[in-house]
């Protein structure tokens, strides 16, 4: 069973829809026991960093997330909350990845919205995916490139398109909205 973390962020339902299309059963839950017992956990999200962190802390979910031992996939805000710190309302995050999240400098349109390809990539999530394949992004803050970076994308500057540390995987783009390429990446995660 896949558990999708329920918190005050949008887009949770579309992750479940994507899993259903892949023939995979899932539950949306904020129950720590259900999260700890799931085969895999997805930490999705579109939203604002500080209110999301506050929501997680109030329910003790911050501690649950970092203690997970099974494969975890953070998506978009989920990835950003797994970093050290976010400039979005000066937010201390979960510190799983050794990277900070910063606001794009305003030299091009913000948010970075639409389909973009990869500069670099490595790791199991990208099995069968090519650098020129496009995935869908929508974000105004970007995770810096660090030792946890597993894929990069270029918009205004190179940033982490994907990160990994031990059992924690994450994508800044939305695999659940990235057509067949996104489905491939989700399937790779499900097969870990």
């Amino acid at each position: 069973m896949i558990a999708i973390l329920k918190y005050n962020a949008g887009n949770i339902r579309s992750v479940q829809n994507a899993l259903t299309r892949l023939g995979c059963e899932s539950i949306i839950t904020d129950n720590p026991t259900e999260l700890l017992n799931a085969d895999k956990v997805i930490f999705p999200g579109v939203g604002e960093a500080s209110s999301a962190m506050q929501y997680l802390k109030e329910r003790g979910l911050d501690k649950t997330i970092v203690s997970l031992k099974q494969p975890v996939l953070g998506i978009c805000l989920g990835l950003q909350l797994m970093c050290r710190y976010s400039e979005e309302n000066d937010t201390e995050c979960l510190k799983i990845f050794d990277s900070d999240v910063r606001l794009f400098p305003p030299v091009n349109k913000i948010p970075h919205m639409g389909w973009n390809n990869f500069l670099t990539m490595k790791g199991e999530l990208f099995k069968g995916v090519a650098l020129e394949d496009d995935v869908y992004y929508v974000h105004s803050y970007y995770p810096e490139v660090s030792s946890c970076t597993s894929a990069t994308c270029d918009y205004i500057l190179p940033f982490s398109a994907s990160m990994q540390y031990e059992n924690f995987y994450a994508t800044q783009f939305h695999p659940e909205k990235s057509a067949e390429i996104g489905e491939k990446i989700l399937r790779n995660f499900l097969e870990l």
Partner: protein, 251 residues
């Protein structure tokens, strides 16, 4: 590199697409989900669904339709038509819409943009602006283009950005339905004056029109309806054409 987006728009009335469609392999030409699936397969980058009836009773039916779309479609989609309150937005987002568009209601009450943005994020709010020149001045129209306002288009565009809009859907009313091409001047001007993505709309009639608007303006996306519905331009051909013209699109 970030790609320029091609966005088919589907008009919805009582849960069905209006304006004819002309796809040979479509079982039910009136079903928005069937049509949407074909566009996704062809490589559409996003979809927009506009509910042109948009009454309170239809809102619930629309939410049901949005749920069906969200279950079947693996690319982002926007829903609009008659959204007046944050509660209207909540219903559509909960049903699975990625973004919503607001138009007249945002002109009437600009605070609505900020309310939606703070609850669901800027990326969720697409402000639709219908515009045409009156005495050499581009101004904003509301009520489906029937009512002129005192707002100048560029000033309103900057204002909606400031209020929290994540994107602008700019329709040049004089071009809309003409198939004579997008309006390059106002699309370029709005795009230069805001730092959020602008979707060009109104006037698409040929593949050249798409390369023209992408080449000559900073718009991030181009939207069209009838030329796609009638199969006059199919998306894979259009994208190949744009690639040959050195415009970056997703293939």
């Amino acid at each position: 590199m970030l790609k320029r987006r091609i966005i088919p728009c589907l008009d919805i009335k009582d849960g069905r697409t209006v304006k004819g469609v002309n796809f040979v392999n479509l079982r039910d030409a009136g079903d928005p989900v069937e049509l949407a699936k074909i566009y996704v397969k062809q490589g559409a980058d996003e979809l927009v669904f506009l509910d042109i009836t948009a009454t309170v009773e239809n809102r619930k039916a629309l939410a049901g339709l949005v749920e069906r779309i969200a279950a079947e479609i693996n690319i982002p989609f926007t829903v609009g038509g008659g959204i007046d309150t944050v509660d209207d937005v909540a219903i559509l987002i909960k049903a699975g819409a990625d973004k919503v568009t607001v138009n007249s209601s945002a002109v009437k009450r600009p605070g609505l943009i900020t309310e939606i943005a703070s609850q669901f994020g800027n990326q969720c709010v697409v402000v639709a602006i219908d515009t045409k020149p009156v005495d050499d001045e581009w101004i904003v129209f509301v009520n489906g283009g029937r009512t002129p306002t005192a707002l100048r288009t560029v000033i309103w565009a900057r204002k909606v950005e400031e209020l929290g809009a994540g994107e602008i859907l700019l329709t040049s009313m004089n071009n809309d339905g003409t198939r004579l091409g997008f309006s390059i001047d106002i699309t370029g001007e709005v795009s230069r004056n805001v730092n959020i993505p602008v979707i060009a709309s109104g006037g698409a009639g040929s593949m050249e029109h798409f390369s023209e608007v992408f080449f000559n303006t900073g718009c991030s996306a181009a939207l069209a309806a009838s030329i796609f519905h009638f199969g006059e331009i199919n998306i894979p051909d259009l994208k190949k054409y744009l690639m040959n013209k050195k415009i970056n699109v997703r293939l």
